[in-house]
């Protein structure tokens, strides 16, 4: 692969592979290519991989390793694997997912203020938000919570100074240059512009998470008549 990621310890049971230190779609794609390649390689000591924006954690089952410094052993194995594997050429199964969203009103309490701050009317915010094709950069914060890149830069907005005590499940929010979706109700600081009736995370479903890292996503505006959250927890 082009530039080798930097490898460093993450405690005594994981290593961190760092590909960069910013939010960047090209770097993020390398992270997911590497994650897929690691899962395909599946060495005995590999417990799991946590892909993030510009880095990924390699979780290690140290029980399977002997020696005085098991992490050092894995570090050496990983370094030589990275040197001889072209993880960039790994094909990521790319999925396209449409997310229906009821924008504004009680479902999107921050739509108006976001429009005002962005110098446009709410309808234009919706038009711009539904025009973009976004990519799931990572899942985190809570089970199934996606961080989506590809937001129209005109809609980028810092998070609220005071997070809300309760954000409803399915709430679609803007935080900086990203869109996020809250899988479950709870406190949250993103600017909520709408809400989807889809259930983002259901542990009993296979797969449990509606979205996977690397997925392409487009938001589709719906009206209240098409918002039927009957099948999910609120």
């Amino acid at each position: 692969m082009s530039a080798m990621p930097h490898i460093e310890p993450l405690g005594d049971s994981a290593l961190l592979l760092r590909f960069g230190d910013g939010v960047d779609a090209a770097i993020n794609q390398r992270v997911h290519a590497c994650a897929a390649a690691l899962h395909a390689w599946a060495p005995a000591w590999l417990l799991d991989v946590t892909p993030a924006h510009a880095s990924l954690a390699v979780h290690i089952d140290t029980n399977t390793l002997g020696g005085t410094d098991p992490l050092d052993t894995v570090h050496a194995e990983l370094a030589s694997w990275l040197a001889e594997t072209r993880t960039n050429s790994i094909e990521i199964r790319e999925r396209f997912v449409e997310i229906p969203v009821l924008y504004g009103g009680d479902s999107g309490p921050d739509l108006e203020i976001l429009a005002t701050l962005a110098g446009m009317n709410p309808a234009e915010v919706v038009t711009r938000h539904t025009a973009a094709i976004c990519t799931v950069a990572m899942l985190g914060f809570a089970p199934g919570f996606p961080y989506l890149l590809g937001l129209d830069p005109a809609l980028a907005m810092p998070r609220r100074a005071n997070p809300r005590a309760r954000v409803e499940a399915g709430s679609v929010g803007i935080g900086g240059a990203q869109t996020g979706i809250y899988p479950a109700a709870g406190p949250g600081g993103w600017r909520i512009i709408g809400r989807t009736p889809l259930r983002l995370f259901d542990a009993a479903r296979d797969p449990p998470s509606l979205l996977q890292a690397g997925d392409r996503v487009r938001f589709v505006a719906i009206d209240a008549a098409h918002f039927a959250p009957a099948d999910r927890r609120t």
Partner: protein
């Protein structure tokens, strides 16, 4: 099916096991017993695999009805426990007659108690674990802490013994030292994180007090002088793990515990070694701790030694058959 009836749930009692290790990619953390050492020992004492599902009891305990005879063990924090008026000491197997009511009081030292039952708590496995994910609201018993009226399913018992009138309590016990330390202030071994503090040894030169806002997700610490990251740049979210020491803007560190989220954006100024997570999970609000620096080799040695002590307990449990025979 064998079951336990929850008469009184206690402050926060959840089903936990060895945790969920294969779903980080969709934002699902490990969960599992915050003090895995005590869970391991409790399971070994009742003849279970070390990471079978147990009850994790926080600070104040439940009242439970066992309808059938069983074997149980209570490890972790020191707690007053009794079965129908007979005191049940910790760190040893206890044979319990049918229709026993077990009452667990408040923790006297330490914060978390692990109650293992022969056969394990048989809630369904979700994403490879029976642990309760409190933030995600799944796993364990319906994804939540226990409530009065819950009936917990138990796995098949593997011990067969005569009917008992009263509990039989093993006359020996497991010594939890050096793996747990309930002193007012303890030392916790820490590895370097990817972010430095200024000055670089600021995490190591003061004592921290555990804040009351601590929970299974993290131990919030309070130091007399707030810490500062050497590099104040904004950080993109990166993976974190149980044991990661995060530094939020207020300068008071948070050590992530079993319910750690999978990624975090705060500077990561250290990592508590795996072998010391149990003693960390036993800290109570108001108690103190200091960090002492170790390197990767020292951490690996400490972890291997703890595993070896657990291994010896497992071996011993296979060889205490004489006492078992006498009570059969």
């Amino acid at each position: 099916m064998m079951s336990i009836d929850v008469l009184v749930p206690g402050l926060l009692t959840t089903v936990q096991d060895g945790g969920r290790h294969h779903a980080h990619g969709i934002g699902v953390g490990v969960a599992g017993a915050a003090d895995a050492y005590s869970m391991n020992v409790a399971n070994l004492l009742v003849g279970n695999p070390p990471t079978a599902a147990v009850l994790e009891i926080n600070l104040s305990g439940p009242r439970l009805l066992f309808r059938r005879a069983t074997t149980l063990a209570i490890c972790g924090a020191h707690i007053d426990a009794q079965a129908d008026g007979i005191a049940l000491p910790g760190w040893r197997p206890i044979y319990l007659p049918a229709r026993s009511t077990v009452l667990l009081g408040a923790c006297r030292a330490g914060a978390r108690v692990y109650l293992a039952v022969d056969g394990g708590i048989a809630v369904p496995e979700i994403l490879g674990s029976r642990s309760t994910d409190l933030r995600g609201g799944f796993g364990g018993f319906h994804g939540r802490a226990l409530r009065a009226g819950d009936r917990l399913p138990l796995g098949a018992s593997h011990t067969r013994r005569r009917a008992l009138d009263a509990p039989i309590i093993a006359p020996w016990w497991i010594d939890h030292e050096p793996d747990l330390d309930f002193a007012e202030s303890i030392a916790v071994r820490v590895l370097q994180g990817s972010d430095a503090t200024a000055p670089s040894d600021a995490l190591l030169t003061q004592e921290f007090i555990v804040d009351a806002a601590s929970n299974r997700q993290g131990l919030r610490l309070h130091g007399a002088s707030p810490l500062r990251a050497a590099n104040a740049r904004e950080r993109v979210s990166e993976p974190v793990v149980p044991g990661t020491v995060q530094l939020p803007p207020d300068g008071q560190p948070i050590v992530l515990l079993a319910d750690a989220q999978t990624v975090g954006g705060y500077p990561r100024i250290g990592h508590v070694i795996a072998a010391d997570l149990p003693r960390l999970a036993q800290r109570r609000p108001g108690q103190g701790l200091r960090f002492i620096p170790v390197d990767a080799r020292q951490a690996a040695l400490a972890n291997a030694q703890q595993r070896a002590r657990l291994g010896r307990i497992a071996v011993a449990m296979g060889t205490v058959g004489d006492w078992e025979k006498a009570t059969r």
